[in-house]
């Protein structure tokens, strides 16, 4: 019997649980002008753009009260939960800081050379020349979004934005059909949710407009899409990226992308993805592996595949003699144009960036879209406020997106990801034709599918390398490297059915880069007994869950669970990812 994770949905009704009216007494509510949820590129660009526009409209600024712009961030601060490749296109930074020379940006500058390799196995690398257009990065900036976020936050604070770190947006406040703000998460609850001695309840933050910039797998974004029925008929899909930053002895002189090994080529595995190596100045390299979450083999693990990739001569050469200085993981939406929410706004609310699926998958670009979208939202809200109107109709935000490069680029590559569901080789051939034809061939609307609907099987044991603590690392030591200091007795923020068939359990265990899910030995043993001595699924096992390991990557939401924000300040504290 084929089994898919979707058959074991998480015990949660997000539209009911995470959307509701304000509950604090009216005189205790915190009133702000515009509330932004999420301190990533989208949220911070939105905040900065708003202050730029408001700076010229003193009366309007005054009318927004003591706190014209507030931004809540669930990590310790902006940047703590940010992770990306990343090669950033310069257009958004240029728009937001027109007078700032590019050499003063908080980035690692541009790189001249590009290379794309097909790895047929663990030894060989076939260069694909000339580098296909999606993989060309001339003029793009090597960027650590964790650092970019901190820098943008500084600009925002200097401009008067209230940045509230360690504050999760837990509930979307909706009254009379319009979004009126967000409620921050409670703090100081115990393992079973019970209030501890230092319990501090969340607060209602009331705003004229609320901008959801939560990034991938946005908690309130997901709830809002359900509540206001904003979703596309095509479900969103995700990819999971695991990355490391290495201090290296030799500078890397080019941007490198690879496809193929260590992913399986055969169609039945549906393993689609690739790796990247970006030079971060002279002494560091950002490297990672990104894989679509519609893969099927429960034994597959992105984290371990990345460790394996480091054994390939092409990669080993780069990191030889170096030292790992950072690690992290994050999903990115890959459904592209068709899977984007049908409507990017609801009365009083706009959705920006990764949360709205604004990623161009073939080129692995999204940071600048997020910033553009944040700025568009700021401009749209400003227009409404300036006209003395409520922000009930933010269709002007959607119009700005539709007239922008976000729309143009993602439309062009609208069908490029979907063919890979047919396996790497067939998919690659179709996508290649799409690229050559500028997206016109074969045209039409290629449907996306929900990652959780894909059947899972238990394949053969993979030959992942045993971590040596120098070049290859296990999951736990990697989690510790993120600075994750979540209390051991924090409540479980992951909604999941903990009793599932072995193949689903193993899939979660291997998928999670942070070792949150484990199939206990005795459960595995029992499953083997039941399955004629082989762990061939069918038998239900009870998972052990360690939510304090979680680095908020979001993969579980794609694969049949539901991630919610942890207590504000928990999770990783990424520095250079």
């Amino acid at each position: 019997m084929p089994t898919a994770p979707i058959e074991f949905p998480p015990p949660v009704d997000s539209a009911k649980e995470f959307v509701g009216p304000p509950t604090d007494p009216a005189d205790e509510r915190i009133e702000v002008g515009v509330a932004i949820v999420g301190g990533g590129p989208a949220g911070l660009a939105c905040a900065i753009r708003l202050t730029q526009l408001l700076a010229e409209e003193e009366a309007l600024m005054e009318s927004l009260g003591e706190v014209p712009v507030a931004l809540v961030e669930k990590g310790k601060g902006p940047g703590s939960h940010l992770l990306s490749g990343a090669m950033m296109k310069p257009s958004a930074m240029q728009k937001l800081f027109p007078d700032l020379p590019e050499e003063d940006w908080p980035t690692y500058g541009t790189v001249e050379k590009d290379a794309l390799y097909l790895l047929p196995n663990g030894k060989r690398a076939i260069p694909l020349r000339p580098t296909p257009p999606p993989f060309r990065n001339h003029g793009n900036h090597v960027t650590s979004v964790a650092q970019l976020g901190r820098w943008l936050a500084q600009q925002a604070e200097d401009a008067g934005v209230y940045i509230l770190g360690e504050t999760a947006g837990a509930k979307l406040l909706v009254a009379d059909g319009r979004v009126v703000g967000v409620r921050s998460g409670d703090k100081g609850r115990g393992r079973d949710g019970e209030p501890l001695s230092n319990f501090e309840p969340g607060s209602d933050l009331i705003a004229q407009a609320t901008v959801l910039c939560e990034g991938t797998q946005g908690h309130l974004t997901g709830a809002a899409i359900r509540h206001f029925d904003l979703g596309s008929e095509d479900p969103q899909q995700w990819e999971l990226g695991v990355k490391e930053v290495w201090e290296v002895e030799q500078p890397l002189d080019r941007v490198i992308h690879t496809m193929g090994w260590p992913l399986h080529f055969a169609a039945k595995y549906r393993e689609f993805g690739g790796s990247f190596l970006y030079p971060m100045g002279e002494d560091k390299v950002s490297m990672g592996l990104v894989v679509g979450l519609d893969y099927r083999d429960a034994r597959f693990s992105v984290h371990d595949a990345l460790q394996q990739l480091k054994g390939h001569p092409l990669v080993a050469r780069v990191i030889e003699g170096g030292k790992r200085v950072a690690w992290g993981a994050k999903t990115l939406p890959s459904g592209g144009y068709w899977a984007r929410p049908r409507q990017l706004w609801a009365p009083g609310m706009a959705i920006c960036g990764d949360g709205a699926g604004m990623v161009n998958v073939p080129t692995l670009k999204g940071v600048h879209y997020a910033m553009h979208a944040g700025m568009f939202a700021a401009e749209a809200i400003f227009e409404r406020l300036k006209a003395g109107r409520m922000c009930d109709d933010l269709s002007n935000y959607a119009a700005k997106v539709e007239g922008s490069e976000i729309e143009k680029d993602t439309y062009r590559s609208r069908n490029m990801r979907q063919p890979f569901a047919r396996g790497f080789l067939v998919g690659g051939a179709i996508a290649n034709m799409m690229e050559i034809s500028g997206g016109r061939f074969p045209g039409g609307r290629w449907a996306t599918h929900d990652d959780a609907t894909v059947d899972v099987f238990i394949g053969k044991e993979r030959d992942y390398p045993k971590p040596d603590g120098k070049k290859t690392f296990d999951k736990l030591s990697s989690v510790f490297a993120t600075g994750n200091a979540t209390r051991d007795d924090a409540p479980n923020h992951i909604r999941i059915q903990d009793k599932v068939p072995l193949e689903v359990a193993l899939m979660w265990q291997n998928m999670c880069p942070a070792q949150v899910y484990e199939v206990p030995d005795e459960e595995l043993e029992a499953a083997k007994q039941n399955g004629n001595g082989k762990p061939d699924g069918g038998h239900e096992v009870k998972l052990q869950i360690t939510p304090s390991n979680c680095v908020q990557c979001g993969a579980i939401t794609a694969k049949g669970g539901r991630l919610t924000p942890p207590e504000g300040g928990d999770g990783p504290n990424y520095q250079v990812t």
């Binding site: 901190r150 509230l164 501090e200 607060s203």
Partner: protein, 264 residues
Amino acid sequence: MKICVLVKEVPDAAVEKRMDPNSKRLDRSGEKNLNPFDTHAIEAAMQIREGGVADVDEIVAVTMGPESAFRALHKAVSLGADRSVHLTDEALAGSDVCATGYALAKVLESESPDLVLLGQQSDDGECYTIGAVVADHLKMPSLTQVIKIDVQDGKLRCERQAEYGYDTVDVELPAVISVGDAINEPRYPSLKAIMGAKKKPLDTKAAGDVGIEADRVGEQGSQTQVLAINPPPEKAGGEIIEDEDTNETVEKIVAWLDERKLLA
């Protein structure tokens, strides 16, 4: 009663700390945060205020440090302090324990507190000493590593773990008390308090403003100097077993113990 709480900005626990080989000081670049031990001191002040026995008029957070340290003060204020004082001056950079204690005592003198509270140690290495240094300058009684404070008859009844067990000590005010992390579970700041923190008064003071003699602080005024930074002695690394198959792991442990005749 007026309580001053000494706080400090330290490198965040997530940041890998290293020594700057040139200045021979801790490299303080990278993310910083309020020293976690200090949050216990602020909480102790709040519990005295809320305890009802003493009438606490004011809780003032006091720090000495570079410009960026105002963030630690904001955090302290969001946790309950009414206002804050930031002693910052180029001349103070590189101060050792002796010079730091003197400078802090001078800024505290300008506040005339009835009680000075501080965390017993800081995440970046200094431990158990600053409280006693400050107290001697201020000529106040002092205890360190206190895990319980009760206000009784205008005095403090303090408990701490000392060499021979738990000691209970009565201390007259004004006094300097450094607290351990076992003393309480610090509260979380409410969203209102975090937002309000920016609006609470913050006095920035230079060394001269509080009568600090320049030759007693900074690198010049320090009585110690780091002569060298050396790697720790090589230790033969122990064997490490990653537990994959617990039965096998246990077998290995038992064999290891048996080889060393520890199972006799």
